[in-house]
């Protein structure tokens, strides 16, 4: 009962708070005022239900939202698949489904799946920077833009082939990553976030305004589609071909990420995220490791930028706004920072959901923002909790029995 009255109070507060914007709509040119009282009712009911759900969720966690360390059924399911004998069959099954998918879906859907795969790649790239290194990069779309424009411009001026542009795009993006990383890595976490945001905006503004270089807001059209050993594809086959290219690249990127994670640098990166000072004391080259993470993350974005440019055949600066960076960031955050599987799942969900839930299209970004907040509140580790590799020492006891 007490909860209910508190809920009613909260609901009243929200109704009053949102009244001016939600109920009144003025048209100052015609001097017409529209009253939309219905919205107020929705707000009242909605906020009451949300409040009760909130309290319920809090009560389940003993009042402290951050105290959710017990595994949910979801965690257990993932753990069972991830470690048990099911692991190989599940992976093989997924690969098989991904391979035969083009046989069953339309060309339009093919395009969406290819885009989803591009976002998987972007998510994995940002995952290295944000998830593994703990460096919040809010300008990641800039590297994506560098990759895209590398291919678009080189193709436009010199008719450069897609396959040559692929490594070049990655290389250029990595170069930009290093250029950005070197001066700014000294900064503390949240300053770094803002500087990367500023960097992203600068890149976009330059692309938008430097007409003679990037063709400004009108962008670059007629970018050549990829060929296979000189063989060109029609529009339909091309969509499928790009899907396969993206799929192959995602596989490569997953492989690289996995190897990187367990490498010396990768482990240093994870350690740096936890405690910088301790790492420095252990003799880890802080800047070097972070720059490497930045460059690697950026190169993924560059490579997928090339694929993106080839898929769209037209790019302009509007594709690389802050919202894009925020979208990729939320893929990493929702998926679970540092977790490869989680990032892949989140990228696919976030890209496919708007297509299959068209009726929610207007509310997409609203839900998106709310999801970011709720995720941080109730499950900051993301959909899939990243697990650290454990190295167990099998036998340490010295073999003194041997005579």
């Amino acid at each position: 009962m007490r909860e209910l009255s508190r809920g009613l109070l909260a609901s009243l507060w929200m109704v009053v708070l949102t009244a001016p914007l939600l109920v009144v709509r003025v048209n100052t040119t015609d001097k017409v005022v529209t009253w939309r009282w219905g919205n107020m009712l929705w707000m009242a009911i909605g906020s009451l239900l949300l409040f009760l759900a909130w309290r319920w969720a809090m009560a389940r966690r003993g009042g402290d939202v951050q105290a959710a360390d017990q595994d949910s059924w979801f965690d257990k399911l993932l753990a069972r698949i991830g470690q048990g004998p099911l692991r190989l069959p599940v992976i093989l099954g997924l690969v098989l489904v991904a391979l035969v998918l083009p046989l069953f879906v339309s060309m339009y859907e093919m395009d969406i799946y290819a885009r989803a795969l591009i976002y998987v790649g972007l998510g994995l790239g940002l995952n290295i920077v944000v998830g593994m290194a703990g460096l919040l990069n809010l300008g990641y779309a800039a590297f994506f833009a560098v990759g895209s424009y590398t291919y678009a411009l080189l193709n436009h001026h010199y008719a450069l082939d897609f396959w040559l542009a692929l490594p070049l795009g990655g290389l250029f993006a990595a170069l930009f990553g290093v250029i950005l990383a070197l001066p700014v890595l000294r900064l503390r976490g949240d300053y770094l976030a803002i500087v990367t945001l500023g960097f992203g905006e600068i890149v976009r503004l330059v692309l938008q305004n430097w007409d003679s270089f990037s063709f400004g807001p009108s962008g670059i059209a007629n970018i050549a589609r990829p060929t296979l050993f000189g063989r060109e594809f029609g529009v339909q086959d091309s969509a499928i071909f790009i899907y396969y290219i993206a799929l192959a690249l995602v596989a490569v990127v997953i492989f690289v990420t996995k190897r990187f994670q367990d490498s010396r640098v990768g482990r240093a990166l994870l350690a740096l995220r936890e405690d910088e000072i301790a790492c420095e004391a252990m003799g880890i080259d802080k800047t070097g490791v972070k720059v490497m993470a930045f460059a690697l993350g950026a190169s993924f974005a560059g490579v997928f930028g090339v694929v993106f440019a080839a898929k769209q055949a037209f790019i302009n600066p509007d594709s690389f706004t802050f919202i894009e960076s925020a979208m990729i960031l939320s893929i990493v955050v929702l998926g679970g920072m540092g977790s490869i599987v989680g990032v892949a799942i989140a990228a696919i969900i976030l890209q496919l959901m708007p297509e299959y839930f068209r009726f929610m299209a207007d509310y997409r970004m609203l839900i998106f923002g709310a999801a970011l907040v709720l995720m941080m509140l109730f499950r900051p580790e993301g959909l899939v909790r990243a697990k650290r590799e454990h190295y167990t020492v099998k036998d340490l006891s010295p073999q003194t029995e041997d005579k």
């Binding site: 507060w13 009053v16 938008q208 207007d362 999801a371 941080m376 509140l377």
Partner: protein, 312 residues
């Protein structure tokens, strides 16, 4: 010469608004070390609240200055409400979490509020009525200093002086300073830290609302997206002045406002001395970001801030 003076004044006007928003950033950062990413959205909501008030009262026959005052007050009250609610929902539960969590939560909040206004109001640019009448006595110099310029300068100076006095002289101001210095110690001395944090969000949001209503009336149109860029620039201003420092935020805002006109000023200067180098005015946003990056690299503590000490 007149042109340069004009640019200087235009820069100061814009800078004054940046200062108002930057104060909110700097105060919140000073107390809970959070970059309140959604602060720019509060400014935008302030502008929209002002629009609603102006629309409702437009036909009532009140003098425009009266409507402006009511719009300012309404904007401040509602934005304070939004600020407090936002803190309770999105930041308070995360106070003990790692540094990245509240920041990401703030980004989510920012996207959420933007789209909330988009859905509740409109996605188009809406015209904002001129709430500041033309003053007769300004006519001789109106090309230099319009009446809305004057109002912005006067209001923002008054607000800043008021805020400084509040922080310096009142009990609550003292509590805020103490909390900013050392939260745990303040708590031990009987300061209700939660209340202080709520208060900080209230004041910061109210200041942003003033900025929002004033700039909307000055520029004549608003849309749901204005908060993003303004927020970023205000943050730049706060960092420029030294984040956590209140006079720093004021100074930073003014400096940034003037610096943004550099592309125009430089272009004019080059033209004056006979060089043909034209810098597009569209780069004025880039100026702010470049400035931000340069300050953070070379003087992270800002103009008036104290250098941060890393504690083990």
């Amino acid at each position: 010469m007149e042109f340069y003076l004009e640019m200087l004044i235009a820069g100061l006007i814009r800078g004054a608004i940046y200062s108002l928003i930057a104060l909110g950033y700097t105060m919140v950062y000073g107390i809970i070390e959070l970059i309140n990413f959604a602060h720019g959205e509060i400014y935008m909501i302030g502008a929209f609240t002002g629009l609603v008030v102006a629309g409702l009262l437009g036909a009532s026959g009140l003098p425009t200055l009266g409507i402006l005052v009511i719009a300012l007050v309404a904007g401040m009250v509602f934005c304070a409400g939004y600020g407090v609610t936002m803190e309770k929902v999105a930041y308070k539960p995360l106070r003990k979490a790692s540094r990245l969590s509240p920041l990401i939560s703030a980004i989510g909040m920012s996207i959420f509020l933007q789209n909330y206004v988009l859905l509740a109001q409109t996605s188009d640019f809406v015209p904002f009525p001129r709430l500041i009448p033309e003053f007769k006595f300004l006519e001789p110099i109106s090309h230099l200093l319009g009446s809305s310029d004057l109002v912005i300068l006067v209001v923002s100076s008054l607000v800043m002086v008021g805020l400084t006095l509040f922080i310096r002289l009142t009990r609550l101001g003292k509590a805020m300073r103490a909390t900013a210095q050392n939260q745990k110690m303040a708590m031990l001395l009987g300061i209700d830290v939660n209340q202080v944090i709520s208060l900080t969000f209230m004041i910061g949001s109210a200041l942003a609302a003033i900025g929002g209503v004033l700039i909307a009336s000055h520029s004549g149109q608003i849309n749901f997206y204005i908060g993003f860029l303004a927020g970023l620039k205000a943050f730049t201003a706060a960092v420029l002045g030294g984040i956590g420092s209140i006079p720093g935020a004021m100074l930073g805002g003014l400096v940034l406002g003037v610096a943004e006109n550099l592309p125009i000023i430089l272009s004019a200067f080059f033209a004056d001395i006979g060089l043909n180098i034209d810098i597009p005015n569209d780069y004025k946003d880039a100026v702010a970001f470049c400035l931000l990056i340069l300050i953070l690299i070379f003087r992270p503590s800002g103009l008036l801030g104290r250098p941060a000490i890393k504690k083990v």
